[in-house]
Amino acid sequence: MKWDEFFVTGDPLIYGADVSIAITMLGIVFFLTYFKKWKWLWTEWLTTVDHKKIGIMYIISAILMLFRGGVDALLMRTQLAVPEMEFLDSQKYNEIFTTHGTIMIIFMAMPFLIGLINVVVPLQIGARDVAYPYLNAVSFWTFFIGAMLFNISFVIGGSPSAGWTSYMPLASNELSPGPGQNYYLLGLQISGIGTLLTGINFMVTIFKMRAPGMTLFRMPMFTWSALVTMAIIIFAFPILTVALALMTFDRLFGSHFFTLQGEGMDMLWANLFWLWGHPEVYIVILPAFGIFSEIIATFSKKTLFGYKAMVWSMVLIAAYSFLVWVHHFFTMGSGALVNSFFSVTTMLIGVPTGVKIFNWLFTMRKGQIEFSTPMLWSLGFIVNFVIGGVTGVMLAMAAANYQYHNTYFLVAHFHYVLIAGTVFACFAGLVYWYPKMFGHKLNERIGKWVFWLFTIGFNICFFPQYFLGLDGMPRRIYTYSEESGWGPLNMISTVGGFMMGIAFLVLVYNIYYSFRYEPREKTGDAWNGRTLEWSTPSAMPPFYNFAKIPVVKGLDHFWNEKQNKEIKPLTTQDLQKIHMPNNSGVPFVMASFFFVSGFGLVFEWYWMAIIGLIGVLATLVIRSFDYNNGYYVSVEEIKETENITK
């Protein structure tokens, strides 16, 4: 392979990216060296097993990926703004929508939510960390490395261009030659390990590490949503793992699972992909439901309406999520019976979702609603998500779906549920739990600007796309003719897209502004919260979370305690030494070896892949012989941290 095949060349955009990547790298190295931060980076972050720090790293990575995916989106919107635009050629456009979809789902939405789950769930259940802190670090680093491997395809070797669904035989060697598609397979495979481990980790954490008295039906709704999500992850992700492995075999080792030759079955890929892919959309929506439940209850100053109905709705949605995958390809010709069955199951999934919407509305009823930024996002969610929901039901009607399939109607629908659902939740959760993570709030005034800009931009961008779809505009076309008549609506859509881009910049500015000027929180209870994460005395909980593990007496325990004035300051008698896990650099090193191995496989340099895998194996062995069982935090240290004098 020649160097000009290795690096992507010949495009000013790419050269620009090369330069900015190099400058950013140099900048980071300079910053760390100049401020002598290398040691800090290693001991505080790269080797941490603290769930709060891991959560923060997840969220930072997700915001970076949101930027990357967002730039992809704006490039696409620019290309589609007017008919016959010559900004991107077909191949570039195909690469960009492929990376946009993959990054937004796998490397933005999921990590953002998993980050919030990491920060919040152990605190909400009154635990000092997750069940397997070391594994949690492995989860994060494999996700991060998978994401990086996927992202470098942009400048090294070329990006995948077969769509985020990577349908076979398009994604086969014959129709998609080169390393691009391998990046997709290996990047997703490596980060998928992390997701599956997260699923196991948090399921065990929630089942085994709840504070005394916290029965399952006293758990906060966000914790419930996390539990249900983890169950979906554990059942769904192995399917993706296997499907990716089979396609990897097809591409690298000449097998014929999905290929045109050798009796391969391309429809099998579509089935396996959506068998994972549909549960995946519930993996990114259920935690969002959990976040909104917390926020709506908090800012209505009222307990949730129909708590049990909400829990059972989520369980039902999770079960149903495995019974609807065929609705992604009603047009495959599976026959009337199959299509009828999946039409009905898909519509039925709207019922528990509708129940939840009404429960949120009735939670606000008889409340005292405060329009804080997180609450605005939650209200915006209800208004916009309903539009996504009802168009989802329309898409579920197979006979009509034959006309919506592969059009902008579908594109509008899933952006209405994924943005108004998941992205709004990510922003809401970020603002809501920001004081828990960083000790100060995000500025509310700027935050509201972000909300209005983003929400209005979002509607301007995606609402017209329903009509483009009904007017026959297929998704994934890179340009269209003047005569098609799609020009004006596309222009409107592009304007909305850029408004969302501006909103994102304002959000980032708000992070900087608030860091400089917002007052620091003096207590742990920034919003007059209801659940245990707000019960820590300091704004940011210490690394062991709770000096004394709380005993839970009911739902909304912390709120009830405040109402009944039962909160007493801690004394020395309450304290005992605390057992905590040690930091470890092994997960980071292991993930780096995964990168080496993955990179080798992408370019089919097997010597490199083998070296990487040996490294991974070595780190596993090292861990197996590691008899380091953590350490104790002394009562003295706790007293000092918590400012306890008595």
Binding site: V344, F358, G367, V383, Q403
Partner: protein, 288 residues
Amino acid sequence: MYKRYKPFVFLGMLLTVFLLSGCSDLLVLDPKGPVAQQQKDLIMYSIIFMIGIIMVVYVLFGFIVYKYRDHKGHKGYDPENKGSHLIEAICLIIPLIIVVALSIPTVKTIYSLEEAPKGSENKKPLVIQATSVDWKWIFTYPEQNIETVNYINIPEDRPILFKLTSADSMNSFWVPSLGGQKYAMAGMQTELYLQADDPGVFDGRNSNFNGEGFTDQTFKVAALTSESFDKWAKETQQEAPKLTKKQYDQLMLQGHTKEMTFSSTHLKWVKHENDADYAIKVRERLSK
């Protein structure tokens, strides 16, 4: 006050503008045949329900958010209001009724689309085999012994039975004016009935992404009176050149081509529904 309701006012305005600007101009809602007509009817039926659902949610939302906002003279605060079996039952039963109301016509239409349109059951359908190859469409009229590339002529008021297959990637055969799409896959054959009410020319395309030439993988469908269709078929059989195997193999290469017409078909050399890798083999052979 206005500020709080801005998104609704805005959305309402947007909605009205779009709805008034004429749904009937939208391709899918302007059917030119009985198949597309059935689908449009189903879509319009569902839209009524959807607008109803949205209205209910928005009215409830507006009422609750306005009444229970934190303001002076706030009344009715009840922080322990945990639920009500009656409300929860209503929230469960009404959506279930809606699902039933939507399911029945959906299933009916699904079954009806599997057959020739009502009223044309007794007319013998015209069979056209549509084969997609990156990034073009090859159409075969087995009974007429005609093959065309990137266009089809069909008679009006007669069911057309499309037998779809692909020489390589997974495609979707779609003529929005005449009806919904169906996939064309290598090594497989799927069937789709369409029918045109009146003479006219309609746009058709592959709607399933399949690589670099995807955007331009389109074709034209011309519906003719049955006399002109017969005339065209007869003329083509007499005047159009025969398709040679060499020519056909050239068509197997990736790329676009102009419209073509032949008075013989490829069926004697290959049936793509049984031979999934024919095009791949041809490409390998020709690239040597």
